[in-house]
Amino acid sequence: MVADHLTIVEAARLIKRKELSPVELADSRLARIETLDGQLHSFIRVLPDEARRGARACEAEIMAGRYRGPLHGIPIGLKDIYETAGIPTTGHSKVMQDHVPAVDAFTVTRLKDAGAVIMGKLATHEFAFGGPSFDLPWPPARNPWDTTRFTGGSSSGTGAAVAAGLVLGGTGSDTGGSIRGPAAYCGLAGIKPTYGLVSRAGILPLAFSLDHAGPLCWTAEDCAIMLQAMAGHDPADPASADRPVPNFRRALTGEVKGLRIGLVRHFYTTDNEANAETRDAIDAAARQFAEMGAAVREITLSPLAEWASCGVLIMMAEAYAIHEANLRTRFTDFGEIFRDRMVLAGLWSAADYVQAVRRRRELIDEFDRAMADLDLVMTAAAPSEAPKIDAVPKFAIMERPSLTMPFNVTGTPAMSVCCGFTAAGLPLSFQIVGKRFADATVLRAADAYERATPWRQRRPAL
């Protein structure tokens, strides 16, 4: 009998000792998907045959003494914007529901090479942008902590599937918070790595200059394992950084002593005012870091609306350019949320876009100056617990400034970390942010915090 919930680290330890068969593990997840996903809708497409075939191959290799590492035999899911050879990759959209790629995305190849078992393709907001939508070929994913609640988006299926234990980890993408939002609302760890660390090649784009690929898992250590497999230079991605990838897991010392952390409190106390439970939980997390030996001090950046406006303008203009042809010819094949947001982007002028990109340079410079005597920044990842799924406004991303978008603008690594629960039992979260290519420091702080607090012990009751 396989436990309902296992971290990647826990499962890998058992698999390595040959105390858990990858086939048994994959079968247990398929059974769990069969039982639970009817209410969660986290999968667009389950791949039982491929999963069992992959798990059997892993088992044979391991039994023959060829253990590849901590992802070997681990069941994961892929957001359905990651291209998979011979398997439809739809972007959760009618517009691409028949799209069958010829080759895997670079990151999918890397994850397979590390031994991961692909369980299926996960729900997303339409083209990683429009949702939660009820007028698409597949329903929106629901939050395992309360299925009347929003998962966050756009990596909605990944958030739901990992939190529910249907997979042990999954891939996401993040253009304005699409990894960190679902991680926050679903009580997970999710890292948006430094821009350029993980290849975007073979991933359906939302906005070229803001898109990041990364993992969502139960813990920071699991994220480190998945990120290790996903990261690395890829000439097919013009933004891919050609530099050595550090050993992320080795950086997880459990220590934060001496780290200098800037707390951007005005983002969630005035600029996008968080509710009391969220504010208290983040303030408590900051105190926890201080008790662990970090030097925490409050800092001030430009108002959140400045960062969000810059990011949203760039994101939507680039997205409009990508989808312009289909919007002209197949407007109502898109979901209403996606297409109406895109119409607004059509009203942007070329000068608006250039002004936003000029503002981006100023904001990046400002952030780099702020980080000159800091190692990390922390702030909120979301202003509250997950809202009701039917209470998300069509133009939500423009109505309240996003707490996650600033770090897409800067391209710096940023991670959501669970920091407690509301009285009603819904997860709360904060965000921790590092310098460019200091992803290991972000993971180290997140891991140390998770080890020092009890929040990873609690799972959704399903």
């Binding site: 297409r339 009203l347 069509k394």
Partner: protein, 58 residues
């Protein structure tokens, strides 16, 4: 933005937007105008955008 301006913009874009959705888009247009205003703060005429291309040395 007025409804006529929106209709004209949609015609120029070649987008066939249902009438009810036009009303909602019009009601949200100020959100875009607010954002566009925020990124136009005064700056030196030569202030560069973030994505100025730097070609690698051959």
């Amino acid at each position: 933005m007025t409804r006529q301006e929106l209709d004209a913009a949609l015609a120029r874009l070649g987008l066939d937007v249902p009438a009810q959705e036009r009303d909602e888009i019009l009601a949200a247009a100020h959100l875009y105008e607010d954002m566009a205003r925020r990124v136009k703060n005064p700056r030196w005429v030569g202030a560069e955008p973030a994505h100025t291309v730097a070609f690698p040395e051959q």
